[in-house]
Symmetry: D3
Subunit: 164 residues, 6 copies
């Protein structure tokens, strides 16, 4: 019998013996505490795309409300997308979207009273909101060769994290 | 800068009347064509976190293989996360992860023979791989106040898109 | 009658300024209280279909047990189907199905001890049970032109809601 | 009226012996044909709730766009909610929502080029859109005892089904 | 920059250079061919549990029909549970369940016309059907200490695989 | 041996009348208690496949880490796969994988502080880890006729269950 070992990567596990593979962090003993996290991110777009969002002429639908709904959905699905996360009983998700002259800015606040923090929920909801917006404006951002020379997602980060 | 405002955004639908709500783009008449898209993105991390990833001492598990598996999973779940996307029969997903001195770089190539492109699949898989890595190194990136002054996701973009 | 029109619908958000987009209701401060909701609904079917359900000759399988299982599944998936719902730790789902002479009646009771009610869980479980039954009897309800002149779902409503 | 009773329902399987359990209909030999289905349904609401939807003052967000997004999501998830359905590569989903004086009317058209029809996709998308709207206006429809004396979903039916 | 390497485990990838991490097998160039797979498995149970299943006195519901419905559901969800699988448009799933004197035997046949085989679909559907049955008879199989000295799943294997 | 037969199976529900259909066990009144379950299972493989896993030359990726990630994912998805299970807020999932000379052994420990036990979570996570490994080594286990004469999953069982 031999446990999964690889010198560089797994020396430590080797010494820790059976049970070395890690997994989800054990939060069994932690108390339920009010948690709050705010994350944000940006989707850089071309001027004419921003104008179309502002003018409400994006063919697929209303970009901001759609991205918001996708964010609400996403915050509840984090434990399904990110393998090491715990399922968390979210008590509030509040997405905010702003149209700036050269980008869309998404901010998502998530709350829960639980044993572990909700920053991954807020981060993932931001990413999904931005990708939803990108998907809705694909036609406007593609060049004649079908490439996206301009669109990009930037600055997905945690703005605040609170506990207790 | 302007925040989502009813008047600007929704004048147009008013004029378009019933049927103005849009929806999923109708690709019924499009031929099945080989499609390929490559997207990438980066997770900026502190030096000691990068060292821990390289040394294989991240407690939860092997960061690169875990992020890869999460990317494979994600590419198949795009139609569930992004409301306007079509379900696409993906024929290949190939994630690549590199550890640079100050960041993790993820590149994902997705293929399908279908009526619409797979760039959202590649983009979403990148985002999920980066968030999976972030989630695995949370403990290493948080400061004493539980904040993330350093970690951020940058540069999620489409590198290449091919059709036919 | 008026179709979704930008001006009427979105004047208000404009005045409410940033933060006007709403989201999931914040239930963070609410106590965990025993909750119970009962919903029901009906699927109107043709006489020969009802007879086939009673005779156990529906080709796909046993309609009532299948619809029941679909309802159990559905009650646990509400937060995935309805964007503004909270994930709720359901403690009981009890579906009941009756075959009447011209319709199938589904009643679902859901319980949880939580910060918000479970009526959406009961309603959604009813809808899914009825649609599962419809799907199982499609062949019996379609006319020669492949249309459904008779089948329809009626009366999905909340029968009781209890708290505390 | 008769409640689900073993003897009536299951005599037939007994005679059919092993293999009597049914399952998903085998469509392996069927050709890929253009399919289209349109379904609709209604959510009956109180006058003041309708006014709040029209005025854009529902706290959670924009009801029609949110219900539309939920419908798009739902049409892609039918094979996950209804056990006997086949996974179908949907090529278009077009939801329409109308606010009438006493109800919300949802109509969803779904298309696919496949071996089996898409009416369950259209029906399920209608049900989910209506339930999403209900969930958003819960506060407005509940009476002082927390009951829903008025709200109900009616008339979920297939308007048209086309093939070939 | 250094690519993920570990001497024992990853020598080969190291030599293969960047792009060595593998992923979903690329089936882009494969033709759509009729596929069929049959898998089976067994749940060993105590005599009194088998009698209760036969007598229809299991409290949660009808074990065989419930396990069948869970199998239908599972066959469609393989690409969500097993990371390296392709999403496959299943055209038929036919579960069969037999109650023997000391075990439950599940056999599932899955079909598709696609670029890759469906044995994982059949295997996973068997596993889920057996676990569903186990879950339904938990109370009957637990001893006074809450342990399961008897129940076990055996012999999950592929009985047949056909192509073309 | 007897195959699912209406009369035997459903006599009892007939006598129990309305309400006989069962459902999810009502755990509303049960206290939140620390729970722990450990399950294990085995995937029997050919010698050359075991050697390839040990050598790290399986083309799709690292088998043990991938199976581990799939197990983490699975433990969180039990309520979605098994219809009668309750959604449970898992606080820890720890998968262990060992490569023996003729088989892969998976052991999964799951914890939660809840009203009902977590053995189905541990069992399902084992099954999914073993199937993930099987899927990764398919090419190595198939004979020239595309059959699997050797691979099989054995001995999925609950090793320990603790409460309080």
């Amino acid at each position: 019998m031999n446990i999964w070992r690889g010198r560089h990567t797994f020396m430590a596990p080797f010494h820790r013996g059976f049970g070395a593979m890690g997994g989800m962090v054990d939060v069994s003993g932690k108390p339920d505490v009010p948690r709050r996290a705010v994350a944000s991110g940006e989707l850089v777009l071309q001027r004419h795309t921003i104008e179309a969002i502002r003018a409400g002429t994006i063919e697929k639908g209303e970009v901001l409300e759609s991205a918001k709904v996708a964010a609400l959905h996403a915050a509840k699905r984090v434990s399904d997308a990110l393998p090491y996360t715990h399922p968390i009983p979210i008590t509030a998700t509040t997405p905010r979207l702003e149209v700036k002259d050269d980008r869309l800015v998404v901010t998502v606040e998530v709350k829960a009273t639980y044993k572990t923090g909700v920053e991954m929920e807020a981060l993932y909801a931001c990413a999904v909101a931005l990708l939803t917006a990108w998907d809705m404006v694909k036609k406007h951002e593609k060049d004649e060769g079908g490439q996206y020379p301009f669109a990009r997602i930037q600055n997905i980060r945690v703005l605040e994290k609170e506990k207790g």
